[in-house]
């Protein structure tokens, strides 16, 4: 377990096999994975914090269970990384913000608890855009993440670090969060699998709130099987999140093995008009591949797609302006002094937040301010109903929907940093999934001429992650990945 090629290519099943064959112990694997991740990290800046003590303690528990002949868990010994917007008890959680630079949470997120109960070994916390606001990971207070596939390019965002560690091989799987595309877009840019489950499928308890009606926790992995395994562990009702769903969690790995013959797949024309030819060609080739397996592919319409960006930036910023009000210099570590209480608040927030976070707080405050509520917020909520209705109608005709994830592959660092609207437009194909609350994912489907990964996006009905995984798994297998 010393060769770097081995640790960087591990999958969950390879870890399971290695442990049961005694090729390595969980403790040996944790030590190797940690030292490999620490050595490789300077190239990408994907990890903000390593957690060797926690990792070795978790690994020791797995080894102990194995020694006693007990079942060590679905993720026994698997080195995982957690986006730094998901709280970890006793382990610094920064949201990539100066305002939380020294915050040590007093509790664990439910998703983290569930991972560790199944034997996962958390080796560190990953970099991201500040408070998950961004599409390139350039909004981190701790510096940008570089795309492991092309170091002069962004890994996507906001979960750039969580995508990068899986692509780089410095974690086997990771957790990210998605509010407008923050899992699928970096997964597509880095060439890994990224899943945004149905809204409420995974408890948000312990996910630092950005936009509560849009926030999701979901997994990154190197293949569809691993992503399905991680989702099954973290999914399900949680009393600590009243919006978490009661719907039973399916055995995704069993159900996704069914052939896709006769499945009806929809191609929304709005997602293919004006799509760059290179991304379009790669996505179309993937669709052909699914047709050859007997899927029936038909064009559908999601007519309100063009309003998604406007709808999203009103709702998400309105919710963010309220959620981020708590960072006031009182409870969460950072404070800039001021003569009055109000001065202290203003100075703390003025110094602590980065430009993009301030921009969104301002926009959200503006759209909620007296006289504008109906024109902006209420209007956007009505448009959200129309967007969700587009999906319900489409799913009366098809079992799943296929689309590109992003209009273009990973762009260069700095390329869009001065143009917020251009940056927002890179999320144009992912926002609708969050607005409608449907499960969606990115699965690698090829490369651009420059060798940059491109992802295929798959949407399914509410709580029908099984069909989404089934399409992804059958595609992945036929593509020989």
């Amino acid at each position: 377990m010393s060769a770097r090629s081995e640790v960087s290519a591990l999958t969950i099943s390879a870890v399971r096999e290695g442990l049961s064959n005694k090729t390595f112990s969980a403790t040996e694997l944790a030590k190797t994975a940690l030292s490999f991740a620490e050595r490789e990290n300077p190239a990408t800046n994907a990890y903000l914090t390593f957690s060797p003590e926690r990792a070795l303690a978790a690994a020791a528990r797995v080894d102990e269970r194995i020694a006693k002949g007990e079942y060590p868990g679905a993720l026994a010994g698997v080195p995982v990384a957690i986006k730094d917007v998901i709280v970890t008890k006793g382990l610094r959680t920064t949201c990539a913000s100066r305002v939380l630079g020294h915050y040590i949470p007093p509790y664990d997120a439910t998703a983290v608890v569930r991972l560790e109960e199944e034997g996962a070994v958390i080796i560190g916390k990953t970099n991201c855009d500040e408070f998950a606001m961004g599409s390139s990971n350039e909004n981190s207070a701790f510096g940008p993440v570089r795309n492991p596939r092309a170091l002069d390019r962004v890994p996507g965002g906001s979960s750039g670090g969580s995508a990068a560690v899986v692509a780089q091989g410095t974690a086997v799987a990771s957790l990210g969060s998605d509010t407008g595309g923050s899992i699928r877009q970096p997964a597509s840019f880095c060439g890994v699998v990224g899943v945004t489950p149905t809204y409420g499928r995974v408890s948000r308890y312990g996910l630092v709130a950005f936009a509560s009606s849009l926030d999701h926790i979901g997994p990154f992995a190197r293949n569809v099987t691993d992503a399905a395994t991680v989702l099954r562990v973290i999914a399900g009702r949680d009393e600590l999140d009243s919006t978490s769903a009661f719907a039973p969690v399916d055995d995704y790995r069993a159900l996704m093995q069914h052939p896709v013959k006769d499945l009806k797949l929809g191609l929304p024309k709005e997602y293919f008009e004006g799509l760059g030819s290179e991304t379009g060609d790669v996505v179309h080739a993937a669709i052909e591949q699914l047709k050859r397996q007997g899927c029936e592919v038909r064009e559908i319409g999601l007519p309100h797609t063009k309003y998604a960006l406007s709808c999203y930036y009103i709702i998400a910023t309105a919710e963010a302006s309220s959620n981020l009000a708590r960072y006031d210099g009182v409870r969460y570590t950072a404070r800039e002094d001021g003569e009055t209480l109000s001065d202290m608040y203003r100075n703390t927030r003025g110094c602590g937040f980065g430009a993009e976070v301030k921009r969104r707080i301002m926009l959200g405050t503006y759209v909620l301010s007296a006289g504008y509520y109906d024109a902006y917020y209420r209007k956007a909520q009505q448009v959200r109903t129309l967007i969700a209705r587009d999906f319900s109608r489409a799913f009366e005709q098809v079992d799943a929907i296929l689309a590109p994830v992003s209009p273009f592959p990973a762009f260069k660092l700095g390329e869009k940093v001065d143009d917020p609207l251009a940056m927002y437009l890179s999320d144009v194909y992912t926002l609708t999934g969050d607005l409608a609350g449907v499960p969606c994912m990115s699965v690698p489907c090829g490369e651009s001429k420059e060798g940059l990964p491109i992802g295929l996006q798959i949407f399914a009905k509410h709580f029908d992650e099984s069909t989404m995984f089934r399409v992804a798994y059958n595609y992945e297998r036929s593509a020989g990945q």
Partner: protein, 100 residues
């Protein structure tokens, strides 16, 4: 559409954000650009459309109610552990009430 500097400062006040002059100028441009883009929503007639106040909910209205069983809350020390400034078991802030 462009927000005036006064409008930007007013919103910054509501949001409890200290912005310097450069940030105010930048913000009036950026917010103006985004607000211009979102004006497209006016094209849509939404008079009969219910606003989406809840994403989806898959159980009875009372399903999230539980027995009211007391449990141990966060201890005072833990709650204060991340405070910028604390003392005597409380969060400390600049003086709010003036003594006469």
């Amino acid at each position: 559409m462009r927000l005036t500097d006064e409008e930007v400062r007013y919103v910054a006040d509501l949001a409890n954000l200290r912005l310097n002059d450069e940030e105010v100028a930048r913000m009036s441009h950026d917010l103006g650009q985004i607000l211009t883009h979102v004006e497209q929503l006016r094209e849509l007639d939404t008079t009969e459309i219910e606003p989406m106040a809840q994403v989806l909910y898959d159980a009875d209205e009372t399903a999230t109610l539980r027995e009211d069983i007391p449990h141990t809350p966060l201890r005072n020390q833990e709650a204060l552990a991340n405070a910028a400034l604390s003392g005597a078991g409380y969060f400390k802030v600049p003086k709010v009430i003036e003594r006469s």
